[in-house]
């Protein structure tokens, strides 16, 4: 693949360096605008597969509130967000649930678990 240019804003720290990257589709050829080396790792990952933590809610029964907040316990490919959301829409938990309880293990074979982010007593 021929060299291409791409613009990134690094989110490793609050500075948010604006980085211009020349890449070959999967590897960095050159980059400028970053103030530290941490951006390199960030941009490399962004080029291969942008990864993010997903936070959302799932439905729950016999509790004070009809939904409970959940998140993936590590970053998952961003492109899988719609499919993960679709799968989580089918789930209905039963109270009580404790914070960090497992909701779905190894969601879509990402190696990440979906866990509850609050305690929800039975009511």
């Amino acid at each position: 693949m021929a060299a291409e240019k791409k613009h990134f804003v690094c989110v490793v720290c609050p500075i948010g360096c604006e980085i211009d990257v020349v890449h070959d589709g999967s590897k960095i050829i050159s980059m400028e605008g970053n103030k530290c080396e941490k951006s390199e790792e960030f941009v490399s990952q962004e080029l291969i597969e942008p990864m993010r933590i997903l936070t959302t809610t799932v439905r729950i029964q016999e509790s004070r509130w009809p939904v409970i907040p959940v998140r993936t316990d590590k970053a998952v490919p961003k492109r899988l967000f719609p499919r993960i959301m679709k799968q989580l829409r089918r789930i209905k938990l039963q109270a009580p649930v404790n914070m960090l309880d497992l909701v779905v293990s190894d969601i879509l074979h990402t190696g990440a678990n979906v866990i509850a982010t609050r305690t929800m007593p039975r009511e």
């Binding site: 989110v11 907040p69 959301m85």
Partner: protein
């Protein structure tokens, strides 16, 4: 019911929780925490995204996780909590009036009080958008509560006015839940929210951000049917002929937060025009001796770590006040804004503790800057200064000799 306590804390968000924990840890025997909702935690309960506690705990928590960590700490202290309890009155002699279904009408006399009521959102009337008054106009925080706690999606085709952090977070949240977010429109020429939120909430989902734009009309009878967007000039006035009609069923407003100081006014506490919160010293004491303030009721902070920090300071000094019964600050000087400073907190320094300053720039500087604090003439370097990112600097107590001269804070390009 008539009660007497050492320290009473009003509000159980991150500021109030931290204040109650630290009041207990600093030796206050009887600490009472008052919360109007049915659960502790305040607004953190609905902030289900991550990014909380990065500074304080070096952990990437979601809002509910951050709250639960503080609540678990509080539970170890034996601090008494009254839930469903609405504070209706506060006097300068530190008597609190409150109502609760469980305890009835309460009259609580406290040796010291910590205000931790947080802030509320600016609404459509506070920015005066012309047009009809259909359903489908929400503040971003109200929409956040509907989605994250009540499980309702407030709309399917959404325009967001204002690029405050809650608006950005909701742009992503609504997109994930299947709504279409057409765009975020910001009247200023720079974004209101944190850069990482622009990247992770808008860019990640290809949601456009239009700077120097605003909503100049809302259309629709029963339900929002559309809005008119206009460009604004450098004086923030709509540019004639730039109007564009956009079809939508929902308009979210993320147009600023105002500290919630109705109770402070009742107690005769002096308020700052710049922050809309109490005029405060470095130990978080207000103009009324023994009444302390912390978190977003003081000034709107960018991140929860700063909120909890002020809560810890307020709780610590409220406990000291309750045991010694002496005013915290006898002598104090003003802290005043100099060059390129829009907002400063605290506004007074009483020579009791280190001066931890929160500074907001008036204009963005995307180059290294020096924050100058005089006296004592300290110069602190930062890689940039942005109005949407509060700067925190610390001047040690030992550097500040007692005097009468005001302390001036400026931000200068290096």
């Amino acid at each position: 019911m008539i009660m007497q306590v050492d320290v009473a804390v009003i509000g159980s968000g991150p500021a109030g929780l931290a204040a109650a924990i630290h009041a207990h840890e600093s030796g206050a025997r009887k600490v009472l925490l008052l919360e109007r909702e049915e659960e502790l935690g305040g607004i953190l309960k609905q902030c289900i995204h991550n990014g909380f506690g990065l500074e304080q705990f070096k952990q990437d928590y979601t809002g509910p996780e951050y709250a639960e960590r503080l609540i678990k700490e509080l539970e170890k202290t034996g601090v008494q909590c009254f839930l469903n309890t609405l504070v209706t009155g506060l006097s300068s002699d530190k008597v609190i009036e409150a109502l609760s279904p469980e305890h009835g009408a309460l009259e609580i006399t406290a040796k010291s009080i910590v205000l931790a009521m947080g802030c509320r959102e600016r609404t459509r009337p506070s920015i005066g958008i012309p047009g009809t008054r259909p359903a489908g106009i929400f503040t971003a925080g109200v929409a956040q509560r509907f989605v994250n706690i009540d499980g309702y999606l407030p709309g399917k085709k959404v325009v967001i006015l204002g690029s405050g952090d809650i608006g950005l977070i909701m742009a992503r949240r609504l997109t994930l839940e299947g709504a279409r977010v057409i765009g975020v429109y910001e009247i200023m020429s720079y974004p209101g929210g944190l850069k990482r939120n622009i990247v992770q909430c808008l860019n990640d989902f290809d949601i456009p951000l239009h700077l120097s734009h605003t909503v100049t009309e809302i259309r629709g009878k029963e339900r929002v049917e559309g809005v008119v967007i206009s460009k604004v000039d450098s004086n923030l006035h709509p540019v004639e002929g730039s109007e564009k009609s956009i079809e939508c069923d929902t308009l979210l407003l993320s147009v600023g937060l105002i500290p919630e100081n109705e109770l402070s006014k009742k107690a005769g506490i002096e308020l700052s025009v710049a922050t809309n919160g109490p005029v405060t010293t470095e130990i978080m004491e207000t103009s009324v001796p023994g009444i302390f303030t912390c978190g977003n009721v003081s000034t709107v902070f960018d991140i929860v770590d700063y909120v909890a920090h002020t809560g810890a300071v307020a709780g610590t000094f409220a406990a000291r006040y309750a045991s010694a019964k002496v005013s915290g600050s006898k002598q104090s000087v003003d802290v005043v804004a100099g060059e390129n400073v829009r907002l400063l907190f605290p506004q007074r320094y009483g020579f009791q503790d280190d001066l931890v300053l929160f500074v907001r720039a008036a204009e963005p500087v995307e180059k290294p800057v020096t924050i100058e604090v005089t006296p004592p003439g300290s110069r602190i370097s930062r890689p940039y200064a942005r109005p949407n990112e509060m700067l925190r600097v610390k001047i040690p107590r030992g550097k500040l000799a007692e005097g009468k001269q005001p302390i001036k804070v400026s931000i200068r390009e290096k």
